[in-house]
């Protein structure tokens, strides 16, 4: 098998894999499985990035997503009422609109490839991709890179404050109670009905 053919075969495997697993995310009852399907989808996209010559980006995407999806799986188990999917679940709203929006988004982006005449300029020096990225990161785009770093740092500080129990006004969950699911139990101003 020639190298080009191998790349083509791998691309279609990854492409179909990423779409199928991406679809399965919303079609499984178990939350942990959903997180793992999403991870599989990301890993397949990471594989496509590597095939495209963006080795560094592809591998970093896979590296990042492993930790992220593990956290997601655990958050799922923590917060969902039925994490193992023992009872079949169908937790959706505005389903028709969502399907329509999804189809429209797909058609819009997919048609771009056929309608727009993109220049045919493949990467001339694919073997230099990683080096070029490094020089770009610490050269011309230094400011962007630094901004991203500062944004991540402030996010870290922000989320710790958000997630922690003790806030400026004392314990965050004091007096909290589960809101009712039926809308008529809540008046229009959004205040909970007094029992």
């Amino acid at each position: 098998m020639s190298e080009e053919r191998l790349v083509d075969v791998l691309f279609w495997v990854f492409a179909i894999g990423s779409v199928v697993t991406g679809y399965r995310v919303f079609r499984t009852d178990s939350m942990v499985r959903a997180a793992f399907y999403l991870l599989a989808s990301f890993a397949a996209v990471g594989g496509i990035l590597v095939l495209l010559g963006a080795e560094f980006l592809g591998m970093v995407l896979i590296l990042m997503m492993a930790g992220e999806m593990l956290v997601m799986a655990i958050v799922m188990v923590m917060f969902m009422m039925n994490p193992a999917g023992l009872n079949p679940m169908w937790m959706v709203h505005q389903h028709r609109i969502a399907v329509a929006a999804g189809v429209v988004a797909f058609l819009a982006i997919a048609s771009l490839g056929f309608l727009v005449d993109f220049p045919d300029q493949p990467n001339a020096r694919p073997e230099l991709a990683t080096e070029q990225l490094g020089i770009e990161l610490l050269g011309d785009s230094m400011l962007v890179f630094q901004t991203a770093g500062v944004a991540l740092l402030s996010t870290m500080a922000g989320v710790v404050v958000l997630a922690s129990r003790r806030g400026r006004y004392g314990i965050a969950d004091e007096g909290s109670e589960e809101p009712p699911l039926q809308p008529d139990e809540v008046d229009l101003l959004g205040e909970e009905a007094t029992p």
Binding site: V77, M78, F79, M81, N82, N87, P88, I171, D173
Partner: protein
């Protein structure tokens, strides 16, 4: 191919899930010394189930459940004195071996036989039943209703409870025991876990209290102490038994810290020590300090305040919390030897480990200097796990403290705490029966 593999496999150490009943704790523990046998933590890994000693009736069903959890090809070996006939009724396919001979040879033979196919793998003993009826109930016949209702596949859905950070999250109710390898035989703990934290726990009644101890030979490390209740016993013998008991406990405790090989070394030492070998224990303590076990694993874990231990007479556990109570201090023979109780101050698991090491060392020194001196008969004796009296045993009282000690601990710390208490349910039950005037051999 399979035959060929089975022939090679016959040379491997036999994976045994061993259950020690009354009077067999030492024999089962000594299996660790035999390279032909490997004691495993999970019945799934085992091919051979060993049940040794006497078992109360209430443990029959758990025994059968362990049996059914083992992988094929599987077999059972029962090592019991003649009075253990019940065991054969509960485990009909079991092979019997004599309890008071080395068991390992029998285990290897039975295992080889089952690998060769000389006898079939044992079938399940219990019927395969659902924990709760569910078939045909609910919209998909899965037993559930809605998203979180019912008992899908026979399992209740997880409950919610506030965790220590104030988030209301899923909890996991879990029954551990009666044959959890890190627990003393028969201990059944019902824990409610939130993640890694034991939120609350309860202990079930000691199953060994149903056993009639008149029929059971007490274990060799306990025997001298029971005799000392009614007759003078040489101090050298008593103190040697105490040191051995502490070292045997240490061997198991090391396994719970993941130090299997070191546990084997300590077990061999327990069999080898002679009166006056205090230096051996000092060397051992240096080795243990090198493993960082006191700092990394036990320091600050499961502290017990001294006031919780007053009037429990919990022996080393009480002395580790700073209570200098020891029945030996009142014995004139011990006073002649210049005995004063050793104590620790911290009261945590590390202190209890150190306390037992120090006591083993002191016991060996005392035994070395005791000469022909004998104990005075006073109806009470300081056992390795605390005061043995005509009524009530130390483990019986410590046992009740467990749920309160575990609340809020992480699972690993909870295990370390339970291990550090050196509970012995068999001894507690036996001591409770001493009131009836059981004659002890």
């Amino acid at each position: 191919m399979r035959q060929f593999l089975a022939r090679i496999a016959a040379g491997a150490p036999v994976p045994v899930f061993a259950i020690a009943g009354a009077g067999a704790r030492e024999q089962v523990q000594d299996l660790r010394l035999n390279p032909g046998v490997r004691l495993v933590d999970s019945p799934r890994e085992a091919n051979v189930l060993l049940v040794a000693g006497a078992m109360p009736e209430s443990l029959a069903e758990p025994l059968q459940r362990i049996h059914d959890a083992m992988s094929h090809p599987r077999c059972t070996v029962v090592a019991a004195s003649p009075e253990g006939r019940d065991l054969h009724a509960w485990l009909p396919d079991a092979t019997a071996v004599a309890l008071h001979e080395p068991i390992a040879g029998g285990l290897v033979d039975v295992h080889r036989g089952i690998l060769r196919g000389d006898r079939p793998s044992e079938p399940a003993l219990l019927p395969d039943v659902e924990p709760a009826p569910w078939r045909g109930v609910g919209p998909f016949g899965q037993g559930g209703t809605g998203m979180t209702g019912g008992t899908p596949y026979g399992r209740p859905m997880a409950d919610l409870l506030d965790d220590r950070d104030g988030l209301r999250l899923d909890i996991l109710p879990l029954t551990v025991g009666p044959f959890f390898p890190r627990f003393p035989s028969g201990l059944i703990l019902q824990a409610t876990l939130a993640g890694d934290v034991v939120v609350e726990s309860a202990i079930e009644a000691n199953p060994f209290t149903d056993l009639d101890f008149e029929m059971v030979t007490p274990s060799p490390t306990l025997g001298p102490f029971l005799r000392a209740l009614s007759a003078p016993v040489p101090i050298a013998e008593l103190e040697l038994a105490r040191a051995r008991s502490h070292l045997r406990w240490l061997a198991d405790a090391l396994v719970s810290q993941g130090l299997h090989a070191l546990g084997v070394r300590v077990l061999a030492l327990a069999a080898r020590v002679r009166p006056g070998d205090g230096e051996e224990v000092r060397k051992l303590e240096r080795l243990l300090r090198g493993t960082q076990v006191f700092r990394w694993s036990l320091g600050g874990v499961g502290p017990i305040a001294a006031e919780r231990l007053i009037a429990i007479a919990a022996g080393p556990v009480a002395r580790a919390s700073g209570i200098a109570e020891d029945a030996r201090a009142d014995d004139p023979a011990y006073r002649e030897l210049g005995f004063t109780p050793v104590t620790q101050r911290a009261g945590d698991a590390a202190a209890r480990w150190r306390q037992r090491l120090a006591e083993a060392e002191q016991a060996l020194d005392l035994a070395g200097r005791a000469g022909p001196r004998q104990t005075e008969v006073r109806g009470q004796v300081e056992g390795p796990r605390g005061l043995l009296l005509a009524e009530g045993a130390p483990t019986g009282r410590l046992y009740e403290l467990v749920p309160e000690l575990l609340a809020g601990l992480e699972w690993g710390d909870a295990i370390a705490t339970i291990v550090s208490l050196d509970l012995d349910l068999e001894e507690a039950a036996l001591a409770a029966q001493l009131t009836a005037g059981v004659p002890v051999a």
